[in-house]
Subunit: 175 residues, 2 copies
């Protein structure tokens, strides 16, 4: 799964500009995906050359012009190919968990702080997802709804698990 597959999926419904795509990725897709402008724009150019998408320049008043991209028939085929290909493993990388793992080499309070920050971030994350769910539910597909529900449930249990972990850590005898 590359950024290209995600861009194709995003274009299956509506035509979008690179800027719009970034916005979508930062909101609804952010919990299992991400891409910067430095990835999006070059990928878009490449995809246009490969005729997976077409560009239309839209002149706007009071705002910069934008390039709106639409998916071609070839692009739709490519997207289907992706959707039927073998599923890749999840990738998870956590600095906070790494520090907890090596926690014995620093003061306990440092690690408690790391986990508390992680907990706060997860809470913020969950709030954003819940808000999004309420706001966007009418225009979401069923599978998108389930996708966000899974995200919310996972965040909730993450919060519980982390809270427990922090309590356990605090209860340890001072090193």
């Amino acid at each position: 799964m590359t950024s290209q597959d995600v861009i194709l999926g995003l274009l299956m419904h509506h035509s979008l500009s690179g800027y719009d795509m970034k916005h979508k990725m930062e909101t609804i897709l952010s919990y299992f995906n991400n891409a910067s402008f430095g990835t999006i724009y070059p990928t878009l150019s490449k995809m246009e050359k490969e005729e997976l998408i077409t560009k239309q320049s839209v002149i706007q008043e009071g705002r910069p012009n934008k390039n709106v991209y639409s998916i071609t028939e070839k692009g739709r085929e490519q997207f289907k190919t992706y959707m039927y290909s073998p599923v890749e493993d999840n990738e998870f990388k956590s600095d906070a968990m790494t520090r907890l793992f090596f926690g014995e080499f620093v003061e306990k309070d440092v690690i408690v702080g790391v986990l508390e920050e992680y907990l706060q971030r997860t809470k913020g994350h969950m709030e954003r997802l819940s808000k999004l769910y309420v706001e966007c539910q009418p225009e979401m597909s069923h599978s998108q709804e389930i996708c966000i529900q899974i995200g919310i449930n996972n965040s909730e249990s993450q919060i519980r698990t982390l809270t427990q972990g922090i309590v356990r850590l605090k209860n340890l005898a001072e090193k």
Copy 2:
């Protein structure tokens, strides 16, 4: 957090070869971290040049020789610097979730299959973690124990959440 920080952490207790490090990363660290030989060996050479670690060649009988690395005082300082630096955000990338998100464009059964595979992988993952917890508990530090407990709890709730999600998806009226 780079592979270098993880390698330093791994060397805080014992001296290890590159091969040993890979093994550790594949077992206990695998749930929030990973590195291939193609990363480990060049990083080790670089770190030796920077005097963060030292190399001793160990001649073995019936086995290839190995290079065992030990952390230096400078390496320990570097590791402390990492442990007190700002915590980076988690990175999570999920092909399965991406496909669920775009599920409306293929038959429901395809997505059910994707989620069922994801569920099976999570189950396998949890079993490996539980087994590891039982096997390694005596030699684990308290924070390592908490780290694995968090991992097991998260996997458990992932399994519940995914199972629910699959039921929800199956119950949807045929598209």
